[in-house]
């Protein structure tokens, strides 16, 4: 069973800011109907050239970093498209945590929902870590989730803070849908009051389909 409280691994440096989810999981890998088969697509154009040959200079293709479970990345990691495939894919190549100064907003919640740990550290701490792990001899990292610290090979500790909810979601693997389903009676009570005071907010698409604008009358 996976131990979620400690992640101990080589950290791979990925010093690119604004690394968007189009680059983390390009469009040609988004045509599936389940979550599988995304490993090849992760960071595809950075990992492989136009002839599908691995780029020797890319960090995850270097023997010292190819088994990394931790990425140390530039700021605004995972910005752009909402595609959760980016998170699924990273996990399928063994990434369990990403350390960066900031993350794209939707990516952040997608990661939480899949137990991909995102650690936010100040910009200078990320730069310092990046420098240290750039030498394969000092690329080992430990993330102690319970204590909320990242420990580098030199023994330096970088404290981070996980919001309580994200921490328990990560450590306990909370089933959010299951939890909210138990609140359905409360949701239904809310709906009745909400629609009573705002009747125009209750749309019924199948019925509305009959009310398309008049200039579209010839279409439907």
């Amino acid at each position: 069973m996976t131990d979620f409280s400690i992640i101990q691994s080589v950290g791979a440096p990925l010093p690119l800011n604004n690394l968007d989810t189009d680059q983390i999981m390009p469009k040609q890998f988004l045509l599936g109907i389940d979550k599988s088969g995304l490993a090849h697509g992760v960071l595809h154009d950075l990992r492989f050239d136009a002839f599908e040959v691995p780029r020797a200079n890319f960090v995850l293709n270097q023997p010292a970093y190819s088994g990394a479970n931790i990425l140390v990345a530039g700021s605004n990691f995972g910005c752009g498209s909402s595609r959760e495939h980016a998170v699924w894919g990273l996990m399928q190549i063994g990434i369990r945590a990403v350390i960066a100064a900031s993350f794209g907003e939707i990516f952040y919640f997608n990661a939480a929902n899949n137990r991909l740990l995102l650690v936010t550290l100040p910009e200078d701490a990320v730069s310092e870590l990046m420098r240290e792990i750039s030498d394969p001899a000092s690329s080992g990292l430990v993330i102690d989730v319970a204590r909320e610290v990242v420990i580098s090979a030199s023994g330096k500790e970088y404290g981070f803070s996980l919001p309580a909810r994200q921490k328990s979601m990560y450590l306990e693997g909370l089933d959010m849908v299951g939890a909210t389903l138990k609140q359905l009676p409360q949701i239904e009570a809310f709906e009745q009051a909400h629609w009573a005071s705002n009747p125009w907010m209750k749309v019924d698409l199948p019925t509305m389909r009959n009310f398309l604008p008049s200039w579209a009358g010839s279409l439907v």
Binding site: P26, S82, I187, D204, R209
Partner: protein, 468 residues
Amino acid sequence: MVARTLYQKLVDSHTVARIDDQHVLLYADFHIMNEYTSPQAFGGLAARGAAVHRPEQQMGVVDHVIPTHPDPVAKRTIRIEAAAAQAANFTRNCDRHGIHLFDVTDPAQGIEHVVAPEIGLIRPGMVVLCGDSHTTTYGALGALGFGIGTSEVEHVLATQTLVYRVCGNMRITINGKLPFGTTSKDVIMYVVAQIGAQGARGLAVEFDGSTIAGLSAEARMTICNMTVESGARAALIAPDATTFDYVKAYATDMPPEMFEQAVASWRELKSDAGARFDQHFTFDAADIGPYVTWGTSPDQAIAIDARIPAADALDADAIKALDYIGLKPDASLIGTPIDRVFIGSCTNARIEDLRLAADVIRGRKVAPTVRAMVIPGSGLVREQAEAEGLVHVFIDAGFEWRQPGCSMCLAMNDDFLEIGERCASTTNRNFEGRQGRGGLTHLMSPPMAAAAAIAGHIVDVRKESAHD
């Protein structure tokens, strides 16, 4: 009573329960799905044996993978096997749960964020969610819209709610008359360039000021749509007479007395005097020119008469971007030859966008070195453009007049850039490889893209007379 922002009012009115000091259980009045970010959500629902709580408040649209060949819609087929299977799977999922789907052969099919407002589904005060980052579009009508991931799509399907972290507030005020030759696309590209690709990260941005007040509802949609490129979680514009007129024209199912009652309530949808914003920017419309991106992030953009930053002003990201895009520091973008022109996307494929582009090309021809296409945002937009005669303007000029879809905005269908092809594009993201591996994207407004199609290179639309 504590003074609240418009954003806080929308969150408060949709809070089913407080979860902790940061999170609420947020009610969604409407939920929109596409074929590529929903399959695993339906799969999760099936695995737990759960039902869709409110199927009539859901909508499906096949838009990301759909081809845009000019075949009649009734005969539309998806030729890419995996994409066809994904669309078929979507049809099955929607049928099974009684969800209305704008399918491949539906004449009203289009890009989700174009279809939903024009069917009259988006009303001020609503919360609208969709597994697509450009859901921020709906803020233009005073509705709180934002993108969610697939796990969250499953949560909304099952419960019509979302566990939501309430965010901070940013206000962006823009005053003054928009200069000649500029559009709302230039406004938002200017804003993103000013505040940066993460300038509004995690914040709800409210736009106000006389420039915004003077814009049409569709022009406002362009602004709210692309606000997400500054990292914003949501974009909002307080509803006003322009909004009410738009909703009245499109939400034709609302009885007059309900509409009047709604308008009375919508007038309260504005930030209170003294409401606290975490950040406030004020810009002058006079400083805005036609904007074009020079790099691979939407904030790497300049006014067309400015120059790409000089070498000593470039950071590592900018150097990498310039290397990819094949341009030099301190250069002008004017005269950069282009191979393709793409007019389309949820940012710029509504009827007003097509009119603006048509005005530039009327009576002129696309340069022989350029392949130019127009992808109307929906079947209804396409129909209206045909009724107005715009179709002849585009076709006579040499544009391809195609069927609706997301198309080459993200190239999930069979429209894409070849390696090294350079495109003048009215879309929202110039990320590396977004429009096709090795493709080079320059974001700009519809008039600027249209002018580039005629010239064969990037030009300043203000210097191009309609008939030269």
